[in-house]
């Protein structure tokens, strides 16, 4: 009896957790989309805020990390950009566009490191 109750409670908890994750994902996606909209108007700092919110909500959202990498790069925050791109690639290693963004970033970053006296 006790075991059956425990199984039921676990199942309910799992279902509840799944529902929360789906909601979170939806919220995170809304933040990402809003960030893309504001970037089209040149508001990169606002976009960073939105995409940081997105990864706070859903840490496994590769696209949000990718976008954050781009925005940090645009703002000259190169260490943060590298971390964001690498996180995006860890989450979605086969994504050609993330890889492309990261490769282009690395070319510039290597140049910056060369320039450092």
């Amino acid at each position: 009896m006790f075991i059956r109750s425990a199984v039921v409670v676990c199942a309910l908890l799992a279902a509840s957790a799944h529902a929360v994750t789906a909601d979170e994902r939806s919220d995170a996606r809304a933040q990402v989309e809003f960030g893309i909209e504001v970037v089209r108007n040149g508001l990169w700092k606002e976009a960073i805020y939105r995409w940081e919110r997105a990864v706070e909500i859903d840490d496994s959202y590769a696209a949000a990390w990718n976008n954050l990498g781009i925005a940090y790069e645009h703002e000259g925050m190169f260490d943060k950009a590298r971390e964001a791109y690498e996180r995006a690639l860890d989450l979605d290693p086969g994504n050609l566009m993330i890889q492309q963004n990261y490769d282009l970033f690395r070319e510039i970053n290597d140049r910056i490191n060369e320039l450092d006296p």
Binding site: R40, H74, E107
Partner: protein, 271 residues
């Protein structure tokens, strides 16, 4: 970052992306401008004085005068600095004067005839003046803070750009690979690499740019370059053309010491 890599990417990426499914409009290409900070914090200076250079090597080009003129012109066009338009110092002569009595300079002959006098046309025979190693002996002038501070006071304490420039003819013979057109029995054209022994002549340019604080006379930053160019021995390229060709390679690095750059590109935003 190389231009060729970028150009390959510019071609390859759209092709790759065209091959991808539309993803329901889930990516957007955005232009980005990545800021690169200058190598040197020059926020305390509004004026720059390209003072002059200790020069050595060939007398075919007055590298002191040409380098000072070129850097001034580049700074006027590509930086926010107010560039001071003063006479270019005959820095080799000054360095020789300051070196008089030093054993290592005396060992060179301590004559001072090779540097500035040659630049002034006093060296009838032309040819080589100071070698690259000799220039190092004269470099102690850059550590003479009181000299630079005094010069700085004269021009209201600007950032001072100075250094050494060594420019010399160079030749190297050996096997070189060239592309040659060949036609097969069907008249089809193709390009094939052909190796051949060639005499090649050109120049080496080895400048050292030194940035000095005109308020204190202290050296803030030093940057050394070395570039060479070789032409087929049958080509008669003037020394001045080679000098400018080699300087063109160095100018971006020189400018990035003093002013911020922006690298433009595109990235893919994802949903």
């Amino acid at each position: 970052m190389t231009a060729s890599t970028n150009s390959i990417r510019n071609v390859v990426l759209p092709v790759l992306l065209a091959g991808l499914p539309a993803c329901g409009g889930s990516f957007y290409e955005v232009p980005v401008e990545t800021p690169l900070q200058p190598k040197l914090d020059v926020s305390g200076f509004q004026r720059v004085l390209v003072a002059g250079f200790v020069s050595g090597g060939s007398d075919e080009v007055d590298t002191n005068l040409e380098t000072a003129r070129l850097l001034r012109s580049q700074l006027r066009s590509n930086s926010e600095f107010q560039v001071i338009d003063a006479d270019v110092l005959e820095l080799t002569s000054v360095a020789e004067e300051q070196s008089a009595g030093r054993p290592e300079f005396e060992a060179l002959g301590g004559n001072g005839e090779t540097g500035a006098d040659a630049a002034n046309g006093d060296d009838e025979e032309g040819g080589e003046s100071y070698s690259e190693d000799d220039l190092e002996i004269l470099e102690h002038i850059f550590a003479n803070a009181s000299y630079w501070q005094e010069l700085g006071e004269e021009y209201q304490q600007p950032l001072i750009v100075t250094g050494t420039v060594y420019f010399t003819p160079h030749q190297r013979s050996g096997m070189v690979t060239r592309q040659r057109e060949v036609y097969d029995e069907f008249g089809r054209r193709r390009v094939a690499p052909v190796r051949a022994y060639r005499d090649r002549r050109g120049y080496i340019l080895s400048p050292k740019f030194i940035f000095i604080d005109g308020r204190t006379g202290a050296t803030l930053y030093t940057e050394r370059h070395r570039e060479e160019i070789l032409y087929d021995a049958s080509r008669n390229t003037p020394a001045l053309s080679s000098y400018f060709e080699l300087m063109d390679r160095l100018i971006p690095s020189f400018l990035s010491t003093l002013s911020a750059e922006t690298i433009k590109g595109t990235r893919m935003l994802l949903k």
